[in-house]
């Protein structure tokens, strides 16, 4: 039974005791960095930060995995058994807090312990939903062959909602640490750096018995999990992924020659067959230019495009651009999805060299002609020197 703070009146010259071992501290601050990077890039920065988002997220999940193993075979204060209490004990502590007679806990206090579980669990589910989203919407990652776009899109919504929930949990976690630091008169964030805390009441605060740590086992389990994750990703690369866009090597020669004389060769999966048909029927007035072709070429290209577009491509751009603006059935930049995803980019950016306009997907999307539009392949070119006065 922890003594109340009022009873354990501050005895300043007491000895310190190691509480947070090196693993826990390294884990904590690495998780701050990796989760911070993943949240910042995912919630606030644009899609061009996708690679950093993946690195941050992957690292966070790996750290959490390792921390869970450490929760079973780590040092005394790191073990779940040491800080996860039942709901009754939690309620008791909150009552004591409300009445101002709550005790000091040298490890995690009851709500703190539950917060740790919530943080670890949320990060894990965010990571998992991210992998499902990656497989379903972008046809990459370990679940690329297993997940369709609809499931991936659902997972992505969950991924985003949980990211906001995690942000809320982090705010609460920090607030809790500040509150508890003020209440008990000790700097808890500093303890997570030094690893030591002040021992005020030996009988009440020491763990019952020092647990035997199994660092080798935890390291092995962690390495195993990481290798398994990496191997499944690599294994998937061996299969043709269903619904992935057909690579540009299979572009129809006539289509590539005629259409990319003026602009990038838009991948056929980017518009539904009816839209391609309408576009090919109105080449005489094609986005402000006469792009008419002889009847035979027009027919051949239209046929190839509609057949190629009818192939089920299950990527995010293919599925989302299929919802065209009825008033502009073949203007990709007028689709709701295009407008949402490009809302943060200024008109000035689009019109400058070497972008020239919204139609020039390939200026920023290095993989535009493949139809993939992987966010990690976005590279918005800088303003050329002659314009940047």
């Amino acid at each position: 039974m922890p003594v109340t703070y009022a009873e354990s009146a501050p005895r300043r010259r007491s000895k310190s005791i190691p509480v947070w071992d090196a693993f826990v501290r390294l884990f904590h601050w690495s998780l701050v960095l990796s989760t911070g990077a993943a949240l910042l890039t995912g919630l606030w920065l644009g899609a061009s930060w996708f690679t950093l988002h993946l690195i941050g997220g992957t690292l966070a999940v790996a750290l959490v995995t390792s921390r869970i193993f450490w929760g079973f075979w780590g040092s005394s204060f790191a073990r779940f058994a040491a800080f996860v209490v039942g709901p009754r004990r939690l309620a008791e502590h909150l009552c004591e807090l409300a009445e101002g007679r709550a005790g000091r806990h040298i490890g995690h206090n009851p709500p703190g312990g539950w917060m740790i579980l919530a943080l670890l669990g949320t990060i894990l589910v965010i990571g998992l939903s991210g992998v499902v989203a990656l497989g379903g919407t972008l046809k990459t990652g370990p679940l690329a062959v297993a997940v369709d776009y609809a499931t991936g899109a659902l997972a992505q919504d969950l991924h985003g909602a949980l990211a906001w929930a995690l942000t809320g949990l982090i705010v609460l976690h920090v607030a809790g640490a500040v509150f508890e630091s003020l209440r008990t008169g000790e700097n808890l964030p500093r303890a997570m750096i030094t690893g030591t805390k002040e021992l005020r009441d030996e009988a009440a605060e020491l763990p019952p018995r020092p647990a035997r740590t199994r660092p080798a086992l935890v390291a092995g389990l962690t390495a195993g999990a990481v290798v398994l994750g990496a191997a499944s990703t690599l294994a998937v690369r061996q299969f043709p992924v269903p619904g992935a866009p057909i690579p540009p090597a299979r572009f129809d020669r006539l289509y590539a020659d005629e259409c990319s004389a003026c602009h990038i060769a838009y991948h056929p999966s980017l518009l539904p067959p009816e839209s391609w048909g309408r576009l090919m029927a109105t080449l005489g007035d094609h986005f402000g230019e006469d792009a008419s072709l002889d009847p035979a070429s027009t027919r051949a290209i239209a046929e190839w495009l509609t057949v190629a577009a009818a192939r089920p491509t299950d990527t995010k751009p293919a599925r989302e651009f299929a919802r065209v603006d009825p008033a502009a059935p073949f203007t990709i930049t007028k689709t709701p999805f295009w407008q949402e995803t490009h809302a943060a980019i200024s008109e000035a950016t689009f019109s400058r060299k070497p972008i020239y306009g919204k139609f020039n997907c390939g200026a920023c999307h290095q993989d535009a002609e493949s139809g993939w539009f992987y966010p990690g392949n976005i590279d918005i070119p800088d303003t050329p020197k002659e314009n940047s006065r």
């Binding site: 990319s260 003026c262 007035d285 402000g288 008419s292 002889d294 020239y356 306009g357 020039n360």
Partner: protein, 134 residues
């Protein structure tokens, strides 16, 4: 100095350019246009005026040939979508105007875009004469 004198460069250029200017495929295209226009020769000057002028009859995005081809025709141009266009001057791009279908296609499209109508055989011939003279 190793730099050849100006007359030498000029002579070399003439020697190099002569067979190119006399490309039989291009001559055939130009001769056909002469027949259609009912003239015996084309005016590079008039072709130049037409090519460099700003027009109002076509689509607002493309008021002039130079919108995409630029004013230095020995250098390449750029389409409105940022794709490079090879130089128009025959002297630097000898393959120009040797494929009748290609010549017709681009005259049809671009005259319509810039002028809002097809070009006459005389206009086409004048422009080819101008671009061959550069």
């Amino acid at each position: 100095m190793k730099i050849p004198s100006k007359p030498t460069i000029l002579a070399l250029a003439i020697i190099l350019a002569t067979p190119l200017a006399a490309n039989p495929a291009r001559d055939a295209i130009i001769n056909a246009l002469k027949q259609q226009a009912g003239v015996s020769s084309f005016s590079a000057e008039e072709g130049k005026a037409l090519f460099l002028a700003t027009h109002s009859g076509g689509k607002p995005e493309t008021p002039s040939c130079t919108t995409c081809h630029g004013t230095n025709l020995k250098a390449g141009g750029k389409t409105r979508a940022g794709k490079p266009i090879e130089p128009m001057a025959v002297s630097v791009n000898p393959q120009r105007y040797t494929d009748p279908a290609k010549v017709e296609k681009w005259f049809r499209r671009n005259c319509n875009s810039v002028l809002g109508r097809e070009c006459t055989p005389l206009e086409k011939g004048n422009i080819l004469a101008y671009l061959s003279s550069l």
